[in-house]
Each structure stands twice: as structure tokens, then as C-alpha cells.
Amino acid sequence: MGIGRSEGGRRGAALGVLLALGAALLAVGSASEYDYVSFQSDIGPYQSGRFYTKPPQCVDIPADLRLCHNVGYKKMVLPNLLEHETMAEVKQQASSWVPLLNKNCHAGTQVFLCSLFAPVCLDRPIYPCRWLCEAVRDSCEPVMQFFGFYWPEMLKCDKFPEGDVCIAMTPPNATEASKPQGTTVCPPCDNELKSEAIIEHLCASEFALRMKIKEVKKENGDKKIVPKKKKPLKLGPIKKKDLKKLVLYLKNGADCPCHQLDNLSHHFLIMGRKVKSQYLLTAIHKWDKKNKEFKNFMKKMKNHECPTFQSVFK
């Protein structure tokens, strides 16, 4: 073990100075009581939990890693703590979490996810705190279920540490009350109208359609949406023969408000995925050519190629 390399962050350095001054009053020349492990640009001794991997590197968080580029630090360890080995793989896997981030289901969602997808560069891996994982999971899994997802194996909370050397926001922020459930908008209807976000969502969805809506009704706790004038942008799991009689569901959405459905007279962009035998709606936007952001999206969509795991993996 011995004494490790020591560099103070700003806050820590300030505290260190105060302590040093205090110590100086008592005994001149006493050694520093604290040891700091700060940013490491060379992480040679880094011991990943995984036995076999590329040597870890500290790299810039790229601007197009949208999940994490504004998380609060600028560099990350690659391979990350989810065993993603290349930046392309990190981006591809992180992109499907961006829509969840935009749901604001918990204040600590980004810090939690990025501690794994884009781990901070220190001399050893630092995992998120178990309590943060549990708080994010408990707040966000209900939202994920609207999209047919459950909390994944790779984020199971019981594998994260309970001690002090773990990543979290300061406790007060993490315990802030979540929004009252009564006023919650249907998550698939609560979307940011920004071209990058829509593109990200398109890539994370299995199918996408331009269509009109014939009718909306309740069925078994879901909103059942009967489309008409369907034009596929991305078919995914939908077979062409099934397209004609396609019916979409807003999962668990029988009673939550969805302002896009207030007026059915125009076209919609609808994205979704198939779960068992149901086609679930994961995002809905009014097809609004006059909206600047939507127009940008239409332009980008023509050239944009979604990353696939196969392309990432080679």
C-alpha cells in the first residue's frame, strides 16, 4: 500500500488548507492528516473488476455521448464499468438510456448511469452507492415499465457498495421528493421537442410510423390507439402483412393525460417497440412541418444511420 499519489480537488484542497492551518496552531510542522486521490490522467495501477480487458485509459467524454457529456466531469475510464470496450460501444449502449434521462424520474439518474457508462478517472474503479441505485431504480422503473422495460440485470443494485467510497450526489439532493403521481403525464407523451432527442429516440425504438389516429379508447388499463393512413419510417418487428391491422398500446396509460391525443386531426410521428404480442407506443410527436426542431429532425433523419451492435463490435 504505502502513501499514494496525492492531488487535491478544489473543494478538498480548501478543506485541507483549513485543517492544515488548524494543525499548525497546535503543533508546527505536523504532517498532513489526509491523503487525496484525485483525477488521474495516467491510471496504470487501475485494477478493473474484470480480469481480462484492454488496459484502462482516461479519455475525454465526447460531446456526442449525450448521456454523460454534461454530467459534471470531463474525462472517463475506457473500458467502462459495464465492460464496454470501445467508445462506439459505449455510445451505442448509452443511447437507449437518453430517453429515460429526459423523463427526469430522479435527480440522480444521470450521475448513477454515468458512474457506470462513463466512470470517473481515479486510481481504482469507484462504483455508484447502493442507496443511489435503489433510489433511481425505485423512481425510474415505473417509468420504464410504460415502455415495456424492466430494471436490467447489469444495473442490479445489490452489486454496488454500501460504504463511503462510492459515487452519489450529496444526500439532500438524492432524497428530494418525486413529483406527485396524480399530475404525471404519460411518459411516452412527455417528450422534449428537439431534433437530437427525437433522433436518439428513433434509434432506440424498434419501429417508427407517420400516421393518423382513427380512435383512442381504454382497454385493460392501457390506452388503445387505432391508426390509419400509416406510412412506415422504420418497420423493425412489424411485418408488412400486419401493418394493415396494426393496433398500438400506450402501456398502463388508460388514465394519464397525453396532450398530443387531444386533437386527432393531424398526422403524428409515433415510435414504439414490440413486447410479446403488443406493439407499445414509446414516443408521440405531432407531425409539424412548421416547427423548426421537427423540420430539423426530418432533414437529419434522411442521412442519419443508427449505430448497431454489430458495427460497434468489430
Binding site: 491523503d35 486521490v37 444495473l155 467510497v165 432506440a204
Partner: protein, 359 residues
């Protein structure tokens, strides 16, 4: 009396010749960092000829496969580190004696320990070359082409880039065994027996890596789900390879060379060794005391565990000679806490610990 003097001289020359023949080993590539492939462009021939410890056949392979040499060095290093881990609490602890022969004269003896070092070093090379293929570092090989396992669920994908353990195994066989195959000793001689022993142990090491490679998978569906899963062939953790070879070491078979030039069991009641087993032809030397002729460094000055009754205990480690006790001060980080964003602050704790050293 003159005839006795002549015999003595002949014996001495024979011994010296053997020492010269076996003094160096390719394991020394682990201790002298091999230059990156780019350095070879300057002049292939001189660089290969300057690498220490290569046999003539290995030197030729170096010229043909220059870019592989760095990874052979890595493999040897991995093997030595693993050896030092597996024997860390033993009287002989796989310490490296010098840069040329690496382990010193101890390896002249065809002992169990020699068997282990040959196996684990060969295993290290298979490991390093297989991985280098996967990483695209070598022009003559790439991802593994192993066929999809029959018991893999149908909806899982077989793809990705697997460790090329087939290539690693074949190349390690060519390179590591070259040193043994180019020797020409009389059939049934002790020297030939030693060559056969080395070939068997090299093979056992290679097979350990080859057989322990297994399927690894990743879930890469949307939001981390396992709706999409891709699998590939992956090397086992090298510690596990070391553990397996250590088991083989513990159950190694004592052999002797026959007049027909084959190895046979000293005790015919035991089971015939398989190609995955370690074999030895000489009893292990006493590792208790320093002995220049056997190359034993002895256990004087070694740390031991006062409360243990195993090999690392003071009674056994010190061979009954006793031990000295002294106190040392250790400074460690303690009470660490992560602060946003982003550093870890620790206190420094000092602890006085007792340590025991063999007399």
C-alpha cells in the same frame, strides 16, 4: 592416477558444456522488454540476433514473425508472475536469479518445479498471442474462427471477436518447442529424457489455456436488456490456468527415460500421464539452504507466518532453523470517502505489525 585425472577433466568439460548449452532461455524476453514492432523495421537481422536467450530455431522464427516477439515477451512475463504467485508461500518461490537464464541453475534439474515453469511459461505465450490476435496486433491472425457451439441457445448470436486460441496454441508450439526439437541427444540418454520432459510440460501448459477457453456473452439489447445477446470464445482468467497447473504440479508423475528413447513411469503402479499432465525426471533439490551447485537460494531472510502450519509457516519455511522477530510501521489509507466531483479523501493510518524472518 593419471587416468583418474583424465576422467575428472572429461566430467568437468561435459558439465561445462551442458551449462553453456542450457544457460540461456527465451524466458529472458520477459525481463528484457522487447521493442515494439516498429523498431524491427530498422534492421530485422541484427535485432533478432541481439535478443537474449533464443535458440537458433527460435531466432529464425523471430526473423519470420518479428511482430510476435513483443507478445512472446509479454507471455513469458505473465508466466513468471503467475509462477511467483503460485509459489509465493513456498521455499522455492520462483524468484528470478539473473537476466539471462532467468531462474538460474535450479532449472538445470529436471524437477517438479522445472516442470511447472515450463508449463506456465508456454501457457503465458498462448495467452498473449491469442489476445494479440483478437486485438488486431498481429498481421498473420485475427479473430477466432471457432465454430458456434452446438449447445448455444438458438436466439443467441455467435459473433464478436473471440480470442484466437487456435493460432496462439499453434504458434506457441512452434516457438517454445523449437528449442527442444533442434537438440540431438543419444537415444535413451539423460539429456534426451530431459528434452522429452520439457516437451511434455510445454504441451501441458498450452493445453491448459486451450481447454479452459470458454464462451463469454454480452447483453446488448435496448436499455441493457438481454433481448439481444452475443457470445464469443474468450480466454480463461490466467490465474485459473495457474491454479490448474499448480494442481498438475502437485500430482506430477516421476518418469525415467527408456533405452528406446521414451519416458516411462518410475512406479508402474501409477496411471500413465496424459498430454495434460506434468512430468519430472529428477527429485527436487533441498531448497532450505543456499547451494551454488543446485542454484537454490535458500530460505534465509524470507518472511514467514508464525501462526501457520502450512508451507508458509515459520517452522517449515525456515526448515527448523528458527526465525527473528521485528516490528515494522505500516502506513495505509483508511476512512476513505468519495467527494463530488471528483476525488477520494482518505485519512492516513499507521499500524505497528510484527514480522518474522527466517534465520
Amino acid at each position: 592416477m593419471p587416468s583418474l585425472l583424465l576422467l575428472f577433466t572429461a566430467a568437468l568439460l561435459s558439465s561445462w558444456a551442458q551449462l553453456l548449452t542450457d544457460a540461456n532461455s527465451w524466458w529472458s524476453l520477459a525481463l528484457n522488454p522487447v521493442q515494439r514492432p516498429e523498431m524491427f523495421i530498422i534492421g530485422a537481422q541484427p535485432v533478432c540476433s541481439q535478443l537474449p536467450g533464443l535458440s537458433p530455431g527460435q531466432r529464425k522464427l523471430c526473423q519470420l514473425y518479428q511482430e510476435h516477439m513483443a507478445y512472446i515477451g509479454e507471455g513469458a512475463k505473465t508466466g513468471i508472475k503467475e509462477c511467483q504467485h503460485q509459489f509465493r508461500q513456498r521455499r522455492w518461490n520462483c524468484s528470478t536469479a539473473d537476466n539471462a537464464s532467468v531462474f538460474g541453475r535450479v532449472m538445470q534439474i529436471g524437477s517438479r518445479e522445472t516442470a511447472f515453469t515450463h508449463a506456465v511459461s508456454a501457457a503465458g505465450v498462448v495467452n498473449a498471442i491469442s489476445r494479440a490476435c483478437r486485438e488486431g496486433e498481429l498481421s498473420t491472425c485475427g479473430c477466432s474462427r471457432t465454430a458456434r457451439p452446438k449447445d448455444l441457445p438458438r436466439d443467441w448470436l455467435w459473433g464478436g471477436c473471440g480470442d484466437n486460441v487456435e493460432y496462439g496454441y499453434r504458434f506457441a508450439k512452434e516457438f517454445v518447442d523449437a528449442r527442444e526439437r533442434e537438440k540431438n541427444f543419444a537415444k535413451g540418454s539423460e539429456e534426451q529424457g530431459r528434452v522429452l520432459m520439457n516437451l511434455q510440460n510445454n504441451e501441458a501448459g498450452r493445453r491448459a489455456v486451450y481447454k479452459m477457453a470458454d464462451v463469454a456473452c454480452k447483453c446488448h439489447g435496448v436499455s441493457g436488456s438481454c433481448s439481444l445477446k452475443t457470445c464469443w470464445l474468450q480466454l480463461a482468467e490466467f490465474r485459473k490456468v495457474g491454479d490448474r497447473l499448480k494442481e498438475k504440479y502437485d500430482s506430477a508423475a516421476a518418469m525415467r527415460v527408456t533405452r528406446k528413447g521414451r519416458l516411462e513411469l518410475v512406479n508402474s503402479r501409477f496411471t500413465q500421464p496424459t498430454p495434460e499432465d506434468l512430468v519430472y525426471v529428477d527429485p527436487s533439490p533441498d531448497y532450505c539452504l543456499r547451494n551454488e551447485s543446485t542454484g537454490s537460494l535458500g530460505t534465509q531472510g524470507r518472511l514467514c507466518n508464525k501462526t501457520s502450519e502450512g508451507m508458509d509457516g515459520c517452522e517449515l519455511m525456515c526448515c527448523g532453523r528458527g526465525y527473528n522477530q521485528f516490528k515494522s510501521v505500516q502506513v495505509e489509507r483508511c476512512h476513505c470517502k468519495f467527494h463530488w466531483c471528483c476525488f477520494v479523501r482518505c485519512k492516513k493510518c499507521t499500524e505497528i505489525v510484527d514480522q518474522y524472518i527466517c534465520k
